[in-house]
Symmetry: C2
DNA sequence: AACCATACCAAGCAAGCGCTTGGTGTGCAA
DNA sequence: TTGCACACCAAGCGCTTGCTTGGTATGGTT
């Protein structure tokens, strides 16, 4: 795996606070329905001042997405570092993805998933290779666990079924209910195992 | 099952053509990035003329969604009418949903799924009971097939995993490829069976 | 021939949008 | 004390948006 030189923005900095506020707003209202005035208001500055930190609104979306995929990759790599058996590795990856989608800063990943087409083609291009690297990680792990997986479904289809299942939790799962993230993880794991 | 008094709009009427154009635009560009001028242009009229057929842009979205869920319900009920065994019924339902998402007029259902939050609360309210009736249909079928389903996953979670898997196909599946809708159907069915 | 509902045009308004510009206050370095 | 980078304000520009208004062409009914 390539060496990452990821630098996550300090969440206490002005830029960091803007990114967090933007992520939450983008997730709950959607990118287009979120105005730069909304974002500015959420951190207590005026709208024009945003453009001291970001060139365009589209760049804010790009930055939110970049941060989210970077932090997910960092967390996943560190979680995998100490795990050997194929099934346990899959479990850890599912859990990471669920936590990233549902966790306290999960707004960002949900934005990456559901606002992708709102991003300008230029910024899509910049992020594409990271997304592809991430999906490659999954496919590698899937092919390493073939014998444990449900037969009769091609691995790349199975991964996409799993993606859809996990992403879709944003629309119905509430962490406060009876179902924990661990429960969800086990069920999603059962879904793809034989 | 209740008697439906569904009246699907004639696709050759002015209103029908507008709905179809709107559905396609909403799906490809998203609701917010689609202007009423875009829709008008797609059917060859001026933007102001739209409001002779619909009160607001939000009403267009609501109408698109209502048509899509109604046509899906009609198709699913007629498909189920002649099928008895639980597994075959599930297969038929999966196929219906996939065809509605991917088929020639599948724009509409994708819009219903992914632009829900763009709809005004008032129009959401109007559609909610139809959506709930639809989900109830699934849950009923699931509980009727419990013995064939994958154990260890609560039925309502399983249905949501399946929903996510099927909905997500909008983002990656192309009907022109090597994979047919029938292939997808069988794989999705395998996913939920034991 | 008179009527009328339907479908559309032509023009534009008011509001909201992303973003710009020129300036101000603050804290740190020399 | 001066200088300067940084974070932000105050004001508003230019454009796009959903939607309105008043009028016109058309085709069917009486």
């Amino acid at each position: 795996m390539e060496q990452r030189t990821t630098t996550l923005t300090d969440p206490d900095s002005a830029r960091g606070k803007l990114l967090q506020a933007a992520a939450e707003l983008f997730r709950t209202k959607g990118y287009d329905r979120t105005t730069v005035r909304d974002i500015a208001n959420a951190v207590g500055i005026l709208s024009g001042s945003i453009f001291h930190h970001f060139k365009t609104k589209d760049d804010i979306l790009g930055a939110v997405m970049e941060e989210s995929v970077n932090s997910l990759l960092v967390r996943m790599e560190s979680a995998l570092a100490t795990i050997d058996t194929p099934v346990a590795r899959l479990r850890a990856m599912i859990r990471c993805e669920l936590e990233s989608i549902q966790g306290e800063n999960g707004h960002a990943l949900a934005v990456l998933v559901y606002e992708w087409r709102s991003l300008s083609p230029e910024n899509q291009q910049k992020l594409l290779h990271i997304r592809e690297a991430y999906e490659q990680l999954w496919l590698t792990e899937f092919t390493g666990a073939t014998e444990h997986l449900k037969p009769g479904i091609e691995p790349f289809v199975l991964r996409r079924f799993l993606s859809g299942s996990l992403y879709w939790t944003t629309y119905w799962y509430k962490e406060s209910g009876a179902l924990t993230i661990s429960d969800l993880t086990e069920m999603a794991l059962k879904l793809i195992l034989k």
